[in-house]
């Protein structure tokens, strides 16, 4: 009767078949979910810039306020990348009223050239949303959401890199539960801020939600138009 029967060893295959049959879809879903998510693809993106500008030095050691350079962040959708003239305010070439810091530093040459009418600098965009997603900096900064929530501890980065996935799901999480991401407006650019008198951020946040009347909208048209 062997003709009719599978060989013994074929019994061993059965569990394997079963496992693959059931496991495959799960595996594929997980592969898709993690493999294709910005968590995997985008976080950690750290392009080299034309000028090795160190936020760690400027924002960290020197303690410059973010808004000195990114001065439209609290009034407009876009946080302006400073124009060359802003750099030259300190790294000027001895013009009246301009600083003379690192006057002849090699790495600053492109900046000076640009200032002198040469080619402008081409910074590489690090935090890049999809073109159909409209983000407004001022709307967040004015409601107590600090730079650090999306950009991380830039004040500790020599080279800026992306630390958050900036995925839709990630945005929505915060829009659903903003409390732990809020801080007093006067601490907005203090990336290292922690609540004093040992209160949790939740507690502070809930208070601030009242104070700043924070009601994040979750309508599609909030970001997609």
């Amino acid at each position: 009767m062997s003709l009719y029967q599978f060989p013994r060893w074929s019994d061993a295959i059965r569990p394997i078949l079963g496992v693959t049959a059931l496991g495959a879809p799960v595996y594929l879903v997980l592969l898709f979910y993690y493999g294709a998510s910005p968590k995997t693809l985008a976080v950690g993106y750290e392009p080299t810039q034309p000028v090795p500008f160190s936020h760690a030095v400027h924002a960290g050691e020197l303690g410059m306020d973010c808004r000195y350079c990114h001065n439209t962040v609290d009034t407009a959708a876009h946080a302006a990348i400073p124009s060359i003239s802003t750099c030259l305010n300190c790294h000027g070439d001895g013009e009246i009223g301009k600083g003379r810091i690192h006057l002849d530093k090699e790495t600053l040459a492109p900046v000076r050239e640009a200032g002198a009418g040469g080619d402008p600098l081409e910074w590489v965009r690090v935090h890049d949303l999809a073109d159909y997603a409209y983000f407004n900096h001022s709307a967040h900064v004015n409601k107590g959401v600090s730079c650090v929530e999306c950009h991380g501890r830039v004040d500790q980065m020599d080279v800026v890199r992306q630390v958050e996935p900036l995925s839709m799901g990630w945005c929505i999480e915060c829009h659903r539960n903003p409390a732990p991401r809020l801080r007093p407006l006067d601490q907005i650019t203090n990336l290292g801020w922690v609540p004093e008198d040992g209160r949790t951020r939740e507690e502070v946040g809930l208070e601030l939600m009242e104070k700043y009347n924070v009601h994040p909208r979750q309508d599609c048209s909030t970001c997609h138009r």
Binding site: M1, L3, Y4, Q5, F6, V29, F32, Y33, A36, S37, P38, K39, P165, S167, M168, G169, W170, I172, E173
Partner: protein, 462 residues
């Protein structure tokens, strides 16, 4: 629901049925007749047909590639007729895909012996039809590359599909139906595959049939389990016969478009589906039994019974047509009323009357036994019904859309060559699969037919 009752009622009327298996109906002959088909070289007709279908299938492929590269604008769809032929074809094929499960499951539960001759056949047909049907919703969307969004897969957008949408119910209903039908079909195939395995001469055949026969030995225990499982699957499949096309009808019924927004759609669609399904079985069985010499197993009686079902469901459908008009008038809703007047006498009147004459009038000839038993007549009628049922879906989809509420947006729909290519092409897909089935698998459930032989009956406890 209605259809099942009618069907059984119809069949109960049969007095003194002639034997379901004609000719020299001993077991060996049956096995021989059926199996031979899969073993000997097929007739020329098969090669011709297969080549033809394959060619048409190629055309379908080309059309789809062109469609996806260029955009759904290559079809005739427009504003306001945003759903054109693709959806018509979808519903048409899903309808065809009904007879299979009905015959296999429902008739099995009703213990209708006569089903055995044709069930394998119609189950195969079902599966291939659903394959064709499933293709259309996929290619008809604007951006097929993100169509997976209709499946509830966790994703970085934290977005789920919208479960209130009938289209989503469709996705689940049709895929469930497909899965169950496939299982049911395969289940039934197992013993016969074993038979083919045992008869097979070459190693490859033995190996392949062997794999799929799952080591069937025909032992008593196996038969016992088999019967149990088959019964369960039948029970499982039965509600699907009603559910699938009901859900498909929701796509239309749950909208608020005059001509779609109707409560009678579910039964009406199911009746129509069985109607078209049986017609398609006849269309296929008639040539097949001739081509492969199965006249003794798929007998005139089988065909006659099916014709009765066709006539019955045909009248059900006719009743639905009439009811739609009555409701439209009785509701006193001017938009509803206009839609139906427009159907019958508007720019698409031709389509409407084709539908009526094919679906309601042509089956009436089956009142006559002569006609019911005449191969040419039943073949022609079954073709008519297929055409008529396609037009039914066309009438529902297009004529309702082309003139809805605001006269300013009224427009006329006319198909493009790509519409034609996809419609005809879907038949290419269907027949390619079907011919392969005829060639390599037992077209008649050998084991089950044997139970209908006199011998079987003499043994069976009556």
């Amino acid at each position: 629901m209605a259809n099942a009752e009618i069907t059984s009622a119809e069949l109960d009327n049969i007095i003194d049925p002639p034997a379901l298996v004609q000719g020299k109906g001993d077991l060996a002959t049956i096995t021989e007749t059926v199996s031979r088909v899969a073993e000997i070289k097929p007739p020329k007709a098969w090669y011709v047909g297969f080549a033809l279908s394959l060619g048409i299938l190629g055309m379908l492929g080309a059309a789809i590639v062109y469609l996806i590269i260029t955009g759904v604008g290559v079809w005739g769809n427009n504003q306001p007729v945003a759903w054109g032929w693709p959806i018509v074809n979808f519903v048409f094929w899903v309808g065809i895909g009904h007879a299979g499960t009905l015959i296999s499951a429902v008739l099995y539960l009703f213990r209708q012996g006569w089903r055995t001759g044709i069930n394998r056949f119609s189950e195969a047909m079902t599966i291939f039809a659903v394959v064709c049907a499933g293709m259309f919703p996929a290619i008809h969307v604007g951006r097929i590359w993100v169509i997976y969004w209709v499946f509830p897969i966790p994703n970085q957008m934290n977005m789920w599909p919208q479960f209130r949408s009938p289209l989503l119910w469709d996705v689940f209903a049709v895929s469930t139906y497909f899965t169950v039908s496939l299982l049911f079909w395969y289940m039934g195939l197992v013993p016969d595959l074993a038979t083919l395995r045992d008869r097979s001469k070459t190693k490859i055949r033995r190996f392949l049939y062997g794999i799929f026969a799952l080591g069937w030995t025909g032992a008593n225990r196996q038969w016992h389990r088999y019967e149990r499982a088959y019964l369960l699957l039948a029970a499982l499949a039965t509600p699907l016969v009603l559910s699938v096309h009901s859900v498909v009808s929701f796509d239309f019924a749950t909208s608020q478009l005059p001509g779609w927004h109707t409560t009678i759609f579910p039964p009406y669609f199911v009746a129509g589906a069985i109607f078209s399904g049986f017609a398609m079985v006849v269309t296929l069985a008639v040539p097949a039994r001739a081509m492969f010499g199965l006249r003794d197993l798929i007998t005139l009686r089988h065909l006659e019974l099916m014709n009765k079902v066709i006539m019955a469901t045909g009248m059900l459908v006719g009743y639905a047509y009439a009811m739609e008009f009555f409701m439209a008038w009785y509701s006193g809703n001017k938009y509803e009323g206009f839609t139906f007047v427009n159907r019958a006498f508007g720019p698409y009147a031709w389509a409407y009357w084709i539908m009526v004459s094919c679906n309601v009038i042509s089956p009436q000839i089956f009142w006559f036994k002569k006609a019911r038993r005449s191969i040419p007549i039943m073949f022609v009628v079954s073709i008519f019904v297929n055409i008529g049922m396609w037009f039914e879906r066309f009438v529902i989809t297009v004529t309702s859309l082309n003139r809805d509420f605001l006269p300013s947006s009224w427009n006329y729909f006319s198909p493009t060559f790509v519409d034609w290519a996809t419609l005809i092409g879907s038949f290419g897909l269907f027949f390619t699969l079907f011919l392969l089935f005829c060639r390599y698998l037992p077209q008649v459930a050998i084991a089950e037919v044997k139970m209908q032989t006199p011998h079987a009956h003499s043994h069976s406890a009556h």
